[in-house]
């Protein structure tokens, strides 16, 4: 029950939040925060069992036929992530209650937010690849509505679309990768998969699996060259940014890397691809962060930097690297959530986020300033804060990395130098110095706005001073899960005089120097060019890709959906001819004698009538004769049905024929009588299509006769119809009972078609506002379409 509550209570809250919120008054955030808090409590109750090396598994049948189960698996890694999601979630709920107080869509906001939290929890707890994928997509969807929360603003909509398209594309790659994994190992169950690492690494699907999974992870976790969506996602309200980009959404990709680390890592491909992309992302984004002055934009790029670092560490794959990655997951969640909340509190207080226009806020909001300072120092990796612990092991992992220690250490230092300077920008600029006309208006923030940063600051200090608290409880089990072997890590603030400490000193010194020269640096031409290429440049690249996709879409729509009914019909018929003839060729149905039973005189007459009616349509010019001729054909076929013992079919055919006549009359009377004439080439083409269609359909019917006539289904229905279906009419019992699901689907289609026709006819009366969708003008065929040519000036009667 425990894990079910953890995953699904969020969805329940999402259901009731819109109705509940108007009655909660100002306490909405604190009230809803109780849910993630209690989820954290439930999760914490598993700490002991996980620390002792155990795991928790719960499984519920979902689609048993496909081996898709709603199963959950809790081990060290998933517990670490789940605790972060619910723990940070608690603070974010409280913060959002304060930040968006009085917002007219607060209920909707909490609906999205709890849906997102639940999806994230489901993702990290899933024990089935398909369940995992569904929750992965749910997080993309929930983040789409969260990023686009201010949907009346165009940049928000664009950012939401961009995040959705990029992460969904990755999600689809992930799905294909999962299916290949299942094909390779025979199981969808993640906990079982984790045992088959050697099998997967040897498998011929290994390369595609790795590439597809990485595509999913890299898009979700904003790695180079996909990171452009993350800064744009800053259009979201700040609580969303604080949650998505500290502990959740973007960490989902990291979770994918960590989860499948035991089965996919250990090859050169993994090491160089994951490590390389991670390192590139880290270094590029750390320096890009210095090019911005909006607090949220700066934070966005430092988030990408952190994700790059995590990816790189998981790529290195050594014990030290994995431990560093897991500690940094915590460190980053603490300082990034705090800094985002601080940025939001500043924005809330003075409606300004540009660091060059802020100053002296420390006096106005002291608690927030202290929390921000601690978070930023933790980010910069200054002792004794938690970030220092993480950075020391990251450096250690870099220096221990055998193939390229110097390169990895160099890139890490390069990125961390920028991070130190960024930390300075984020706290020194807004909070110190003199107040100006912008910041003088600041008011003391509400409790909800400083509560989260303060809690996270306390954690950053506490875990910095006593990091060994994590050793046994969380880090050991999670590192063991990622590495696939049991490890016992030992964290410490002080390791003695080590090479890592030297690197740290160098980093801080260079960072301070960078900070001091920031004003000159970020306005210098090379740096601005750097931003134009890799910051906004990638964003423009995305636009080009989307424009290209749309152009292809328009091109193929015009090709296939050109608005000329005759061409649709030809396309469908030619495709049918091709497919059926291909199947005939492949299975060898051509030739050979066909046993035909005795044909009676009236069967001959009816067949000839049916054929004659069809042939007649070729020669009649008058519409009414055409309709009559078609009717003769149809009614003769209906009579044939009757003679072969299919009264239901015959009745339906009679009625359909009747209706067809009415409809054709209705349509044709609306068209001018000008017949036009087809060119000889058109006549030949049309004739070929017609003859071809007739030939393959006749062939199909004859081919059925050549198959041995066994009819187990007929026997089955004949026996069961009265016993189980309570009816004697087999046709109807099949329609409404045995195969009622098919019928349900068919009538749904019928309804959609009915409304479609209704809409089309209604649209035809009004001038088309979207002229671009009209069929291309070069299609000047002699016969105009019935609907188009019906007199538009005749106003239809309105429905009463």
């Amino acid at each position: 029950m425990g894990l079910l509550f953890v995953v699904f209570s969020g969805f329940l809250l999402a259901l009731v939040a819109p109705w509940l919120t108007p009655h909660t008054g100002r306490a909405a955030g604190w009230l809803y925060g109780l849910l993630p808090a209690s989820i954290t409590g439930v999760l914490a109750s598993f700490l002991g069992r996980i620390a002792a090396g155990g795991t928790v598994q719960q499984s519920y049948a979902w689609v048993p036929g496909l081996n898709v189960n709603l199963s959950f698996y809790l081990d060290g890694l998933s517990l670490l992530f789940a605790l972060l999601i619910s723990g940070i979630g608690t603070l974010i709920f409280v913060y959002a209650g304060g930040y968006l107080r009085g917002h007219h869509h607060l209920g909707r906001f909490f609906c999205y937010l709890s849906m997102f939290m639940a999806a994230m929890l489901g993702l990290v707890l899933a024990d089935n690849l398909i369940t995992f994928y569904i929750f992965f997509e749910l997080t993309s969807f929930a983040s789409f509505v969260l990023i686009g929360f201010n949907h009346d603003e165009a940049p928000s909509r664009r950012a939401a679309w961009q995040a959705l398209l990029v992460t969904k594309a990755g999600g689809l790659a992930l799905l294909v990768g999962f299916i290949l994994m299942q094909q390779a190992t025979g199981t969808f169950q993640i906990s079982a998969l984790l045992e088959s690492g050697d099998l997967l690494r040897e498998h011929r699907f290994y390369l595609p699996i790795v590439l597809l999974l990485l595509a999913g992870a890299f898009t979700k976790s904003a790695q180079f060259p996909f990171y452009f969506w993350l800064p744009n996602a800053m259009e979201a309200p700040t609580p969303v940014s604080a949650y998505l980009h500290s502990a959740t959404m973007v960490k989902a990709g990291i979770y994918v890397l960590a989860r499948f680390h035991p089965v996919l890592s250990g090859t050169d491909l993994w090491m160089w691809l994951v490590g390389g992309i991670g390192a590139a992302t880290m270094a590029l984004s750390a320096w890009l962060a210095l090019q911005y002055t909006d607090m949220k934009a700066i934070l966005a790029y430092t988030t990408i930097m952190a994700l790059g670092l995590l990816t790189m560490l998981l790529g290195l794959g050594t014990e030290a690297a994995v431990e560093a990655a897991l500690v940094y997951v915590l460190v980053h969640a603490f300082y990034k959530a705090a800094l985002f909340m601080v940025a939001g509190a500043v924005d809330h207080g003075v409606h300004e986020r540009d660091i060059t226009r802020l100053g002296g806020l420390g006096a106005r909001m002291p608690l927030t300033a202290v929390a921000a300072g601690i978070a930023a120092l933790s980010m910069a990796g200054i002792p004794p804060f938690f970030g220092f612990v993480a950075k020391e092991i990251a450096y250690k992992a870099a220096l221990q990395f055998d193939p390229a220690a110097l390169a990895v250490a160099g890139v890490s230092v390069l990125a961390n130098v920028a991070l130190v300077a960024t930390a300075g920008l984020l706290i020194l600029r807004p909070f110190l110095g003199g107040q100006n006309e912008v910041t003088e208006a600041a008011h003391r923030p509400a409790a909800g706005l400083w509560f989260g940063p303060v809690v996270l600051a306390v954690l950053s200090v506490g875990l910095g001073l006593a990091p060994w608290l994590l050793d046994h409880a969380l880090l050991g089990p999670s590192a063991s899960a990622v590495l696939g072997t049991a490890v016992e890590p030992h964290l410490a603030l002080w390791h003695g005089l080590t090479p890592e400490l030297g690197l740290s000193g160098l980093t801080v010194a260079a960072g301070v120097a960078t900070y001091l020269s920031w004003t000159a640096l970020h306005t210098s031409a090379p740096f601005q060019q750097f931003e134009r290429w890799l910051g906004t440049g990638l964003d423009h690249g995305y636009d080009h890709v989307v424009d290209g996709l749309l152009a292809v879409g328009r091109w193929q729509t015009r090709l296939l959906q050109n608005g000329v009914l005759r061409r649709y019909l030809s396309t469908v018929l030619v495709a049918t001819i091709g497919l059926v003839a291909g199947a005939f060729y492949h299975y060898g149905f051509f030739g050979g004698p066909i046993a035909v039973g005795e044909v009676t005189a009236y069967e001959w007459i009816l067949s000839l009538l049916a054929a004659g009616g069809a042939v007649g349509t070729l020669f009649f010019r008058e519409r009414i004769s055409l309709i009559t001729s078609l009717g003769v054909s149809g009614f003769s076929i209906a009579l044939l049905f009757l003679t072969f013992g299919a009264p239901d079919l015959a009745k339906t055919q009679f009625l359909i024929e009747t209706l067809t006549v009415i409809l054709v009359v209705l349509i044709l009377t609306g068209v001018s009588q000008v017949e036009g004439s087809l060119t000889p080439a058109q006549k030949v083409t049309n004739g070929a299509v017609a003859v071809g269609t007739g030939a393959v359909v006749s062939g199909l019917v004859l081919a059925v006769l050549k198959l041995p006539f066994e009819n187990p289904m007929g026997e089955y229905y004949a026996q069961k119809t009265y016993v189980e279906g309570e009816g004697r009419n087999i046709v109807n019992t099949i329609l409404v009972d045995f195969r009622a699901l098919d019928t349900l689907g068919e009538i749904t289609v019928l309804l959609a078609a009915g409304f479609g026709i209704y809409a089309l006819l209604r649209l035809g009366t009004a001038p088309d506002p979207n002229a671009e969708n009209d069929p291309p003008p070069e299609d000047a065929s002699p016969q105009s379409e019935p609907i188009e040519s019906s007199a538009p000036e005749q106003t239809p009667q309105q429905v009463s």
């Binding site: 309570e726 009622a740 009538i747 309804l751 006819l761």
Partner: protein, 138 residues
Amino acid sequence: MRTAARLLVPLMLLFSVFLLLRGHNETGGGFIGGLVAGISFALYAIAYGTAASRAALRTTPQQLMAVGLGIAVVSALLPLLGGGALLEGLWVKWQGIKLGSPVLFDVGVYLLVIGVTLVVIYELEEHNPRLFPDVSLG
């Protein structure tokens, strides 16, 4: 024309219900019944105009479509309440009369088919009002 319609339309409607109800044992069923009923209203429209036919229908074809699908879905979901499978047949027998969820399903099909038939015919006709006379029932 009008005389014929006046006689035929009620008969056809009656016949359509007959087809619907006997469908389970004899030839007939919701689809055929719906077509007959739809055609009868079309006939009425040919004789008296669509406005009169719409008035005689007393509801819009769109509503018929929606209600029809709704009934079919309800009959599909009904067995779930009793712990059965989707679309499982539920039957009540009382003095030789059998009523079951498949019949309800067929009623849904019947209404939906009437709706779809008429939505197309009415809309087409109202695009070409010169075909049918548009006279009031008076």
